[in-house]
Symmetry: C2
Subunit: 232 residues, 2 copies
């Protein structure tokens, strides 16, 4: 494992929430121009490279983040020191919500791909959400989405035989339009599915042999989504 040093965030430029391409899905989607004028601090953006660490467990933090593109893993460490990935944060999803209730982050957040982020000062969110019904509701929906997602993670990615779990992961990572999918290290796959790197590797190899997936490049596959859904 290469050692990654937390990037001293190159937060460049102001985000432009009103004209954001993710606007319809993002946390601030319901806010209007008037609301943005009330912000005391700018919304900043940055880009992370694979392996970069955004924050670590117990880091005191003042920002929530939205992923604009790319993929972030949220990692927990088990008593025996092994890592377990408890969530993948992808486009239009929010991380760091724990700061609304606590002062520090609960995970280690590491980029799996090149990732663009926006960051929001948690104080502003807190302040605005107390009187802005739209943001208030957006927060409730965000919490509910995360909780619901956590349960899906449990039932789909951590239950049943390895092939079924791997299929669920692939389906989750596959682009709905092109049926293409970018994978990452076998070790990371293992700590998502609670299987060993060897089993992860074997399962992927078997899927290749059976024609369920076809390599298009390094960790880049074409995925037969219909066939994967049919795996018992």
């Amino acid at each position: 494992m290469p050692i990654s040093i937390p990037v001293d965030h190159a937060w460049r430029g102001k985000g432009n929430c009103l004209n954001c391409s993710l606007r319809s899905q993002a946390l601030f989607s319901g806010l209007i121009e008037e609301d943005f004028k009330q912000l005391h601090q700018p919304i900043d953006q940055m880009v992370m490279q694979p392996g970069d660490v955004l924050y670590r467990k117990n880091d005191t933090g003042r920002f929530l983040f939205t992923v604009r593109s790319g993929l972030i893993k949220l990692v927990k460490y088990l008593p025996d020191g092994r890592q377990r990935i408890v969530r993948l944060v992808c486009s239009a999803e929010v991380m760091g919500m724990e700061l609304l209730a606590e002062e520090s982050y609960r995970h280690e957040a590491i980029a799996l791909q090149q990732t663009e982020l926006c960051r929001y000062p948690v104080d502003e969110i807190d302040r605005l959400s107390l009187h802005n019904p739209v943001l208030h509701r957006a927060l409730m929906e965000e919490w509910e989405k995360m909780l619901s997602e956590a349960e899906a993670w449990l039932t789909q990615l951590s239950t049943g035989p390895a092939k079924r779990r791997m299929a669920s992961l692939l389906l989750r990572l596959t682009d709905g339009i092109t049926s293409e999918c970018y994978l990452f290290s076998r070790e990371d796959i293992g700590s998502i599915l609670s299987i060993t790197t060897e089993t992860a590797s074997r399962t992927i190899s078997e899927f290749k042999r059976q024609g369920l997936i076809k390599a298009l490049g390094h960790n880049h596959y074409y995925v037969d989504t219909v066939a994967l859904k049919a795996i018992p």
Copy 2:
């Protein structure tokens, strides 16, 4: 499996939140007399018997619930029809929070023991929390607690060997003072830990033989917490 019919809730009497014995931990803990006067509807209480169904998935609902005593299981059904228990709700914990973001419940909620509940009209919570900073924060903390708990469920109860998972479950259910624990059916234990009923039964038998737990009555055990924590 006996068929359980949703009880037509015998909601008797008004709850008295200001003098509630759970007050320091409950959702409404921060509210003052003035706030309660603003409630348009009373807070009601009820008692459920083991096997009673509080609500089902997709039921439209207007209430959140707090468990005062007892234990509720929240169940999801897997594609293959088998059940998976995704959360246990015990004393002072809240369920039904999904109604703050959606109109219907996401689980089936079934009592495992005799259980006392309070119910809160979700509209009132929604309305009050938009301007009451204390309740607003209590909600954020409740969401965060549930999410954090969902991750613990994943890492402690769904990862690792069956003995370790069973030990974690027992420790979770054991009363800190008396080291006593009330268990439930092997089938339910299985669908918490993602193991078969047979493995659940065998594991418990082995714990008994090793003196890690001692039967005190029907599904009632004394638990050697120190020894259980030491299981690898």
